[in-house]
């Protein structure tokens, strides 16, 4: 066997109270596409940050091409041929593509030369991108291309990609995978971090699975089932949500021509959304982030008022009602952003229970908060939804993302809503917690609640939805039965080609 490109030996990194990486060792060969798998908090980020020079390990060594490798900072890592595309982009909206790329360079050549090189690289790897366009106008997929091209201009030997597909449509994912395969064929090794198992099976040759900071297994994803990999990641058998056939009842919520201006400069306007939601069904709404999800949730929760008749609940217009009036009649919401929107980070879980539960749980008497009752409600949520925390007196900030999400969703479910709107219910939540949240949503629907689940995770939507609709630039496609939808059809719905879909697909 050839000499590995990068070899990690016994890497250990501890933070106060938690060991992020413990004795991690693996090798990446030149041109290999290597997957790094693990739940949230398994230590993936710390490990790649170590490789990229952002974190210094407590012990352990790395070698690159046989020579000792210990980058003190990302600049040193880049100089050695290691490049990284982060999950969150570091681009300036107001500048064009070439200017953004020049900003990341040590000694940037003139703009015209950069533009030429960008064009050359984008042609070579099939990443269409115009260097003179303003980044603010690009889609998430195009922004990612800017980041990738920025890396490719350094001619890297190892490219690290952190959750690259979370913001892409299926078509954009295909383009990205073609590029990555081409790079790999030319000898560039790729370290691919993701928790989407099907993608890893399609792309990677080798996988290292991390759990609680330790390597718990390696496998060839092409020959291992997604279920086996998931169980390796979680360390226990994975519960797949059960789905009983549900008869759907009468219409509870109907949106009629819901339109609203963008609430702020970077918001999205809602355009003529019409849909009816029945009792006991799960309506899945897919779409790439920033296509009006937040605005739709605000219009449903009552944070954004709309014109009379646009939002109707059991035949009555509730467009003008505020959040608590809607809670009173049974319409509850769990927004996407946990910290600072669904929950106040510095407040205790008891206080966070009061945040939405004053009306339905009768936590307030003549304006005075009944703290004992609030505390016992918070305790109920914690025990029913298995929120890992010492107790309700702890702040929301002290919980991990997945635990807080369980609390936030549980808080709404425990209030027995008639309609529940959830936005990205399992974003950043580990696999087992995600499965239990999905199961809770299905159970709720089985009791007759109408559940509207807005998510970017198509697998999740296919798993729990009865009907599926796509949100694109503030427009909602017509809903279609979720069963039998193919990935291509979904992709077209997400891309906004509603008219084409009629031409191509038999409904």
């Amino acid at each position: 066997m050839n000499q590995p490109l990068l070899a990690l030996t016994g890497l250990t990194k501890a933070y106060p109270g938690v060991v992020a990486n413990k004795d991690v060792s693996f090798e990446i060969a030149p041109g290999e596409v290597h997957a790094l798998l693990g739940e949230n908090g398994a230590g993936k980020s710390t490990l790649v940050k170590t490789i990229y020079g952002l974190v210094k390990p407590d012990s352990g060594t790395m070698t690159l091409n046989g020579a000792p490798y210990a980058p003190a900072e990302p600049r040193a890592a880049r100089a050695s041929g290691v490049a990284m595309v982060f999950q969150h982009f570091s681009l300036f909206d107001a500048m064009n593509v070439a200017e953004n790329i020049a900003l990341g360079m040590e000694n940037p050549p003139p703009q015209r030369e950069i533009a030429e090189r960008v064009r050359a690289v984008s042609d070579q790897y099939g990443l269409p991108l115009d260097p003179s366009r303003i980044v603010g106008e690009l889609s998430a997929g195009e922004r990612q291309r800017v980041e990738i091209i920025r890396c490719l201009l350094q001619d890297p030997k190892l490219l690290i990609m952190d959750e690259p597909t979370s913001v892409l449509t299926p078509q954009e994912v295909d383009i990205l995978f073609k590029t990555l395969r081409k790079l790999s064929a030319e000898g560039t090794a790729i370290l691919y971090i993701s928790h989407k198992l099907e993608e890893i099976r399609a792309l990677c040759e080798n996988a290292t699975v991390l759990r609680l900071g330790q390597v718990v297994g390696t496998c060839d994803p092409r020959e291992t089932s997604a279920r086996d990999m998931a169980e390796l990641m979680v360390g226990s058998a994975l519960l797949v949500p059960e789905r009983a056939a549900r008869p759907t009842g009468e219409t509870v919520l109907s949106l009629q021509g819901l339109s609203a201006k963008a609430p702020h400069r970077f918001g999205t306007a809602l355009r003529d959304i019409s849909i009816e939601v029945q009792k006991g069904e799960v309506l899945g709404i897919g779409g790439v982030a920033g296509n009006g999800q937040d605005e739709l949730v605000a219009a449903l929760s009552g944070e954004m008022r709309t014109a009379k008749g646009m939002v109707n609940y059991q035949g009555q217009s509730i467009s003008q009602l505020g959040p608590n009036a809607r809670r009173k009649i049974g319409l509850l919401t769990a927004p996407e952003e946990r910290m600072g929107h669904a929950a106040a980070p510095d407040m205790s879980l008891t206080e966070n229970a009061v945040l939405t539960a004053t009306t339905r749980q009768k936590l307030v008497n003549k304006g005075f908060v009944n703290w004992r009752k609030a505390r016992s409600f918070a305790e109920d949520v914690i025990s029913t939804f298995d929120v890992r925390t010492p107790g309700p007196q702890n702040t929301a900030r002290s919980l991990s993302g997945g635990n807080l999400q369980k609390f936030v969703i549980g808080r709404e479910i425990m209030q027995t809503p008639d309609v529940l709107v959830v936005n990205q219910p399992t974003w950043g939540v580990d696999a087992s917690a995600a499965a239990s949240i999905r199961q809770a949503l299905l159970d709720l629907a089985a009791k007759g609640t109408a559940v509207i689940c807005i998510s970017q995770d198509l697998d999740e939507l296919m798993e729990i939805s009865d009907r599926f609709a796509a949100l694109n630039e503030g427009r909602l496609s017509d809903p279609r039965p979720a069963q039998g939808l193919t990935v291509e059809e979904i992709g077209l719905m997400l891309g906004g080609a509603h008219d084409m879909e009629v031409a191509h697909v038999d409904v």
């Binding site: 929760s301 608590n324 510095d346 407040m347 004053t358």
Partner: protein, 359 residues
């Protein structure tokens, strides 16, 4: 290398210890400042912090503590609601002045009639004047999204001009032989706020204590207090919880203005006695320090106001006995807030010492 690490939860110990630590730092740096001015630092610090309470003349100074403390408590309690909600009313001084003018005007209008209804009417007028003055920045913020810090601050200077014109014009004492300033309300039985002048007791002290209890109950038990705290910590979560930001702004501005106005009225009808050009002495600004020094907590504010009153009185003693310049005292009061904010970092962050990374 010294690093700051964010704590998962604010440290309870440091939250309580920070004000004490800040006072000690102020004493040390104040002492250095006084030494640089050529004064004995130990004697000066003792004069400012201990003489008002424990010297042989303490019987004279102790009532002064109530007189100085009451307006600070009243104004700071009002401000604490807005500050907790992220609404920055910096113009309490102006609201204090307008409250005093309105309340005094009502009292003077009835002179020399005697009736038990006059003083309550004066209080109502004082509260109303302060509230309305505070609602100007509030309404401008709600309607036009103006900055309440700037507007409320600028209205202080408008209020000062109004005060001067009142002292020289409409409210001037007709029997005052042309001197500026109104009749002395403290000598007008139906209008005075004094309960016992010798003990330093006036109605403002009583109302200040009631305000502390009221604020404590509201903030810890009432939904309004919860909404105020929520809006300050997470505005978006507050909207999600059904809090209307515009209403909250108007209510918080109204409360702080109303209490500042009441403080002005009690002052003008008692310790100050009359509307005069130099009626306001900066209670409205000092109350901002008091509010933060007291952690925006009603009990904390009560203690902090006591401390600030102490430095006022101690400062005056130091000025007359040791010849310390008045500006040095103000500087020391400012230092107190400065150190408090500095030490505050420790309640949210943990300091760690680490070796600098070798490159």
């Amino acid at each position: 290398m010294i690093m700051l690490e964010k704590r998962a939860q604010p440290s309870r110990v440091w939250t309580l210890a920070a004000p004490i630590f800040a006072v000690l730092l102020t004493m040390i740096c104040g002492g250095l400042l006084f030494a640089a001015l050529g004064k004995d630092p130990f004697e000066t610090i003792r004069t400012i912090f201990f003489d008002p309470l424990f010297s042989e003349f303490a019987w004279f100074y102790r009532p002064q503590l109530l007189i100085k403390g009451a307006p600070l408590v009243l104004i700071a309690i009002g401000l604490s609601f807005g500050f907790r909600a992220g609404i920055w009313n910096i113009g309490a001084e102006g609201q204090y002045i307008v409250g005093a003018i309105c309340g005094a005007a009502v009292g003077l209008a009835f002179y020399p009639t005697e009736s038990i209804f006059i003083f309550p009417m004066m209080i109502a007028a004082g509260v109303l004047g302060g509230t309305l003055w505070a609602l100007i920045p509030g309404i401008l913020k709600v309607k036009f999204d103006t900055n309440e810090i700037l507007v409320s601050l600028m209205l202080v200077y408008v209020a000062e001009q109004l005060l001067a014109s009142m002292a020289l014009g409409a409210l001037r004492n007709p029997d005052g032989m042309g001197f500026p300033g109104s009749r002395n309300l403290a000598k007008y039985d139906s209008a005075t706020s004094w309960i016992s002048e010798n003990a330093g007791m006036h109605w403002g002290v009583v109302v200040a204590l009631i305000a502390v209890i009221f604020a404590y109950v509201t903030l810890s038990r009432h939904l309004f207090g919860f909404n105020v705290r929520l809006a300050g910590q997470s505005p978006r979560a507050a909207r999600f919880a059904g809090v209307n930001p515009s209403t909250l702004i108007l209510i918080c501005m109204g409360i702080s203005g109303g209490l500042a106005g009441a403080a002005g009225l009690f002052e003008v009808a008692g310790p100050a006695g009359q509307i005069s050009i130099d009626f306001n002495v900066g209670y409205g600004f000092t109350a901002i320090i008091v509010a933060f020094l007291g952690r925006l907590h009603p009990i904390g504010i009560l203690l902090a106001a006591g401390l600030m009153a102490l430095t006022y009185i101690g400062g005056e003693i130091a000025q007359s006995n040791l010849g310390l310049p008045g500006a040095a005292i103000q500087l020391m009061q400012g230092m107190l807030l400065f150190f408090l904010l500095m030490v505050d970092v420790l309640s949210n962050y943990r300091v760690t010492f680490r070796r600098a990374r070798v490159i």
